[in-house]
Assembly symmetry: C2
Homo-oligomer: 339 residues x 2
Amino acid sequence: MAEGPTITTIAERAGVSIASVSRVLNGLPTRQETVRKVMAAAEELGYVRNAVARSLKSRRTHQVAFAMADVGNPAYLAMLRQIQPVLKAAGYRIVLHSTDAVVADEIDVLHSLGERYVDGLIMSPLRVTGRHLQMLATARAPVVIIGSVPEGTPVDNVRADSRTGVKLAIDHLHALGRRRIGMVNGPPDTVPGAARGAAYIEALEACGLPYDENLVQIGDFYRAEGGRAVAALLDRVPDLDALMCANDLIALGALDVLRAAGRRVPQDVAVVGMDDTDLAAASWPSLTSVSLGSAERGKAAAELLLDRLQHGEREPRVVTVPPRLVVRASTTGEEEGGT
Amino acid sequence: MAEGPTITTIAERAGVSIASVSRVLNGLPTRQETVRKVMAAAEELGYVRNAVARSLKSRRTHQVAFAMADVGNPAYLAMLRQIQPVLKAAGYRIVLHSTDAVVADEIDVLHSLGERYVDGLIMSPLRVTGRHLQMLATARAPVVIIGSVPEGTPVDNVRADSRTGVKLAIDHLHALGRRRIGMVNGPPDTVPGAARGAAYIEALEACGLPYDENLVQIGDFYRAEGGRAVAALLDRVPDLDALMCANDLIALGALDVLRAAGRRVPQDVAVVGMDDTDLAAASWPSLTSVSLGSAERGKAAAELLLDRLQHGEREPRVVTVPPRLVVRASTTGEEEGGT
DNA sequence: CAAAACACCGTAAACGTTTACAGAAATGTG
DNA sequence: CACATTTCTGTAAACGTTTACGGTGTTTTG
């Protein structure tokens, strides 16, 4: 923790100017003799370049921020897992923010871009409000949003297609002969909540199934509340034979409650989750889940950001990642499904 | 992305010197009139303090690095989840590193402390080598290690007590009447692998059970390989009646394989995991698991680091977090344990 | 051998802050 | 009103780099 060596220390020891030291360290053309002296001095002193000073001068921090709604949510984790190596390979460090989906915190993060401690930001907000859009329009560094943002917002955007995702799931359930398909959703004022709710209605109708608002129950996006929502739904609709859950955590809550109620999964009630997190494979019965490509979205977001950092201004781009239905035992596991 | 306003821009507009601007912005005593002018100018220009310049001058970055072995591992995630709010509340940002447990990467992270882009580091290495110790001794910023480090290493240290943890589990299994208790462990050259392996032998003997090396199978710390290890173990020891797994992922692999082999959990084989991750509660049967207090360790590490950052030099401290056995269905779930 | 060309190097300015110091303005005191 | 205090402000230096520019010293050229 002693005062570290600087370029000046090296210059003195090597008997050259700081400019020469800098040149040697950056590989600019220099006399062999000087290179040798500088390298030797740097080596002996254990010199390491000061990133802060370098950033100040170069106006590049080689840091990128990732603002996730919730450190605990496996979907964001899956994104992070892909973002990390892409950015690392390009020489960027990741600064992590957890906003707990609080709008004020997200605005703070956008505002803090003005501090210029990062070169760019990847953000995945749960809600997109007017203030978000306003901040995005004046952001002081490039931003990539994972999630949907209105046309014309000047940021790169990576979208999931939850509409198609829900349709895949409903079609699957319909094909299995299910006709009373309930939905447990998160708050409708969130982007995913709104999209998934609308998609559910649309998909039902595409199958020729009537939409019955009794079939829909709203909670939050977590396991405990998801379970409570399912309990309420079961009470109201005893002949329920399938459940579309707005994410995997809700689906786990559903499994808990169904098991407690003595309903067999999938024989009595088939369950589909969403996000295809690690939990889906870990649960038992394992969970059929709609993968919205969290991993792919993370990767795409990192690549978009890098591209923008390297090539500067250009049209905002939108990448849509197609969903995929991962079928597991909670819909088709007759042989091994059980109480 | 236009050139942002600086202290100089404000000074010009307000008709004062940059020193006055800085004073106002930092709340140092200033004439009311000046405060007003500066605030107004700052407001109009949308000024935000440049964190890089400030860091350079103050020699404080208000950033802390967290180096986790693997972004995908839920145990590290649990730590992160606790570290995050503690540091955030104290005004620190988190820079995330994923070292994939590669020693060279960990050394790199330690080395990069010399760049002074962070004020401190929390690191959780899987192995601690001589090079680690050497780098730790000369680290250019305070470091807190989560995991065990030899006496005398000049860093704060937060330890789990896996020895007691394993003992809790083995005692539990023994009390349930199990006598052929196998162990599936990770590599013995990792710190956790070594500790857990030794603790297993010790705990068996404390119960008066003979140690049989056939009962131990080594793999890695992941699900697939864990499953393979269990399969091998079952082949070799058909009368196995309990399994101590070195972490939850291995235990999930065990559940997969036991189910496929038609062994009932827990009736035929009881299974205990370790780390008590979210997966343990999600699996079915839910997994009895030894909590090594990942969350508590994360919190303790963050607090140690903050304390050190605020109060400077002092004796290195060691905090040990006691383990806790979380009993679930995989050892005692007769009523609902399944095929 | 003088002049031109070149290779290398050092000085100094800049990045955007904070802060020690001294000078100016305002206030208090006799 | 002269002076001593106090309060406020501006100048300049510093943090550790990068880099434009001009000056040496060496080599090439006619």
